[in-house]
């Protein structure tokens, strides 16, 4: 018992908690970016795009492929920044193309099929992409070298790195951009209309096929941005897409699926819960649980959320879905 108390008090320093908060928010910002793609597609089609996480995974490999052509290790920022921008653009374009193709091949023929059919073809696409990368690219782990060094000291020896600031700023910027598209453009109005009532929207002259295609393109391009940010801080292999996608979907559900600020909020919350949980579960449970239960938090969070507040934190509209 004494041992347990020691464990409890020794781990919980303010510096440690602050550091985990920062880590959690940055991880969450990536989840949020991927979650936006899920949320938009679900809002418009009521379909969990299981392949979305794998589009993100392909994006990370595109980023790797582009940066690999340059010797970035130790290079000056004047080279690194443009290369990273090019990598991001390449990832966005390729992901968008992939998302567009996936919708055309795997979802469009099934639009009037029983509800489970698109889910199965989504799983098929997801397997295909994973296996394709594993066979023809590589099944190893990859990381980028630390390209952007340094950070801003905050408190004690806690600091927030420039990479983390970049991740936060760009994901929030992307959210505002997306919000602008959805609220202010004709296309966005079409998306909202299809989300509310597909048939009525069609009768009003909304070109549904085009709206759905654009939804996939925008969501996948955001996954491309997320891929770049992910590569700045974490490693990749062909399996990360599934887990990242699952967590992003969780984030979308937590925030309230179908709305943009909700996906963002859900992403941040999930990131926080995960990093704090993984860091302190061992202390809080007197060593019974270890950090290998990290993935359990995301799921437990999701289950609790769905049971107690199925419409998410930010309620979009009353629906029969959950």
């Amino acid at each position: 018992m004494q041992n347990c108390l020691n464990l409890l008090t020794s781990g919980l320093t303010p510096e440690g908690i602050l550091q985990q908060l920062i880590n959690g928010v940055t991880l969450g910002s990536i989840y949020a970016l991927i979650a936006l793609g899920y949320s938009m597609v679900y809002g418009v089609l009521e379909l969990i795009n299981f392949a979305h996480g794998d589009v993100f995974m392909v994006g990370t490999f595109v980023v790797l492929g582009v940066t690999d052509r340059f010797h970035l290790d130790g290079a000056s920022l004047t080279l690194i920044v443009p290369v990273l921008l090019v990598a991001m653009l390449a990832a966005m374009v390729l992901c968008a193309g992939l998302g567009f193709a996936i919708e055309k091949v795997a979802y469009r023929p099934l639009r009037r099929a029983p509800r489970l059919a698109p889910l199965i073809s989504a799983i098929g696409v997801s397997f295909f992409l994973q296996a394709w990368v594993a066979t023809y690219v590589s099944s190893r782990d990859f990381t980028l070298p630390n390209l952007i060094l340094g950070g801003i000291p905050l408190y004690g020896d806690v600091s927030i790195s420039y990479v983390q600031i970049l991740m936060l700023v760009s994901s929030v910027a992307m959210m505002f951009l997306l919000q602008l598209i959805v609220r202010r453009t004709l296309l966005g109005r079409g998306m909202r209309a299809v989300a509310q009532d597909r048939e009525a929207a069609e009768l009003m002259g909304v070109n549904m096929d085009r709206v759905i295609s654009f939804t996939f393109i925008i969501g996948s391009a955001l996954a491309g941005v997320a891929a770049l940010l992910w590569m700045l801080n974490y490693s990749t292999n062909q399996t990360i897409g599934f887990i990242a996608g699952l967590k992003a979907f969780t984030a979308a559900v937590i925030g309230g699926i179908g709305n943009i600020p909700g996906a963002m909020l859900g992403g941040f919350l999930l990131g926080l819960a995960e990093s704090l949980g993984a860091a302190y579960i061992s202390n809080l449970s007197c060593g019974v649980f270890s950090s290998s239960y990290q993935n359990v938090f995301a799921f437990a969070f999701l289950i609790l959320m769905l049971v107690f507040r199925p419409s998410g934190i930010i309620r979009e509209r009353v629906s029969q879905r959950a």
Binding site: L116, A117, I120, V296, A322
Partner: protein, 423 residues
């Protein structure tokens, strides 16, 4: 050149190690397959077209071909033994998946609850058998409850499969109810994600419950699990002879699972036609309406999880006995997805469909083991092609097909031409 090499060459095309050229080639290949299949399907009357894709129309399991099927099931392993026994292990694996598919069909097909965590039941069954039929549990109790447990004899409880199979089934059924209670309010895709979460949580716990008390032995799993034995006859003995005939272990297990499948089909068919089955169908079609009509949706949904779990647990127990060892890695999410694909590809809610789906998809999956990742690639592509060509499955349940026909046309025909307004 053998079949595998040919397949690999076909998939790589003449492009060596250029990933994007290979991708383009494969997309071309997939597209060609898809459009050929569509063309074939469109050109011929349904009964004559590609037999796999249209087998559902006009085929019903009559008394006569029921016996033919049984005969094939009984004789199949004997032929396979002649080819060296490898095929027998494949068939045995497929059989286990048939059992799982029938069980999942109760949850997904009959009741319409999309469960992506079915592997949890399989795992629970396997671990229940593994704990009671290996030294593991004995070691724990031996150390912690030494004053209650006899300290002599061979380590392990070594309880018979005849006892443990229903116990494993009931444990999995109970687990199903436990999963079911918090998810009662959820529908559709949300339920899928939550059950998926439960499946993963189960695996993570199996992976980590070697501390603080070593229950599951962590990532190493349970070892030295007893084979099935009846009296003096051990199924796992490699030197069994019946008369002059050598009976390898997997032949025993093959017939054991065949019996289980027959029993399961017998019970599940009756369950489907019973009051319970009709209530499940009502829940599937419209839960609110079913509730208004006096169906106790809560209990019946829990019953669906429990019955689905029961068969999954039984399959898990047999699996553990056949393998002699189980590890958390055998209970990946992939298993759930594979079983769900079998159910959906076969035709949701149809028992012959589940069996056929399991056989077809299982055969594709298990016969391509040598291809490593490539088989997942083929599997993924085939999944997309099969489901887009035939979204209602190979052998759709006739009742369900009528119920699903909200739009006045065959859903396999795709969206109506532009300008046609469907109410």
């Amino acid at each position: 050149m053998n079949l595998v090499d040919t397949l690999v060459n076909l998939l790589h095309g003449p492009f060596g190690d250029q990933p994007f050229a290979i991708l383009a080639w494969q997309v071309l290949l997939g597209g060609a397959t898809y459009f050929t299949a569509r063309f074939v399907r469109g050109r011929f009357p349904r009964q004559a077209a590609a037999p796999l894709l249209v087998a559902g129309h006009g085929v019903s399991v009559t008394m006569r071909n029921r016996y033919v099927l049984l005969g094939i099931g009984l004789a199949l392993p004997l032929f396979e033994l002649l080819t060296g026994g490898y095929l027998l292990t494949v068939t045995y694996s497929i059989e286990l998946y048939v059992l799982l598919a029938i069980g999942l069909n109760i949850v997904v097909g009959f009741t319409g609850l999309l469960d992506l965590g079915y592997v949890a039941f399989f795992a629970v069954g396997a671990y229940v058998y593994g704990l009671f039929a290996s030294p593991q549990l004995y070691d724990i109790t031996h150390r912690t409850l030494y004053f209650l447990v006899p300290q002599t004899g061979t380590p392990g409880y070594h309880i018979s499969m005849l006892v443990l199979m229903p116990v494993a089934g009931c444990a999995a059924a109970l687990f199903g109810v436990l999963i079911g209670i918090p998810t009662l309010r959820l529908r559709g895709d949300y339920l899928a994600i939550v059950t998926l979460g439960f499946g993963e949580i189960t695996r993570i716990f199996a992976n980590n419950l070697d501390q603080p008390i070593n229950i599951t032995n962590g990532p190493n799993g349970l070892i030295n699990i007893d084979p099935v034995w009846i009296g003096n006859y051990s199924f796992g003995n490699p030197n069994n002879y019946i008369g002059p005939f050598h009976v390898p272990p997997f032949l025993n297990y093959y017939y054991l699972v065949l019996i289980l499948i027959l029993l399961t089909v017998f019970f599940v068919t009756r369950l489907e036609r019973s009051r319970v089955g009709r209530a499940w169908a009502a829940i599937r079609e419209d839960e609110t309406a079913a509730q208004m009509a006096g169906v106790n949706t809560r209990n019946l949904k829990l019953l669906a999880y429990a019955s689905g779990g029961f068969f999954g647990g039984m399959a898990g127990a047999v699996y553990a006995a056949g393998q002699h060892l189980i590890a958390p890695d055998s209970f990946q999410l992939f298993v759930s997805i594979l079983v769900l694909c079998m159910v959906v590809a076969g035709g949701m809610g149809s028992i012959p469909g589940s069996v056929l789906g399991a056989v077809v998809i299982g055969a594709i999956y298990f016969l391509t083991t040598q291809l490593l990742y490539l088989r997942i690639l083929i599997f993924g592509a085939l999944l997309v092609i099969l489901i887009t060509l035939r979204p209602q499955g190979f052998l759709p349940s006739t009742q369900r097909a009528h119920e699903l026909a909200e739009v006045d046309q065959d859903p396999s025909l795709g969206p109506p031409p532009p300008g046609v307004v469907t109410a």
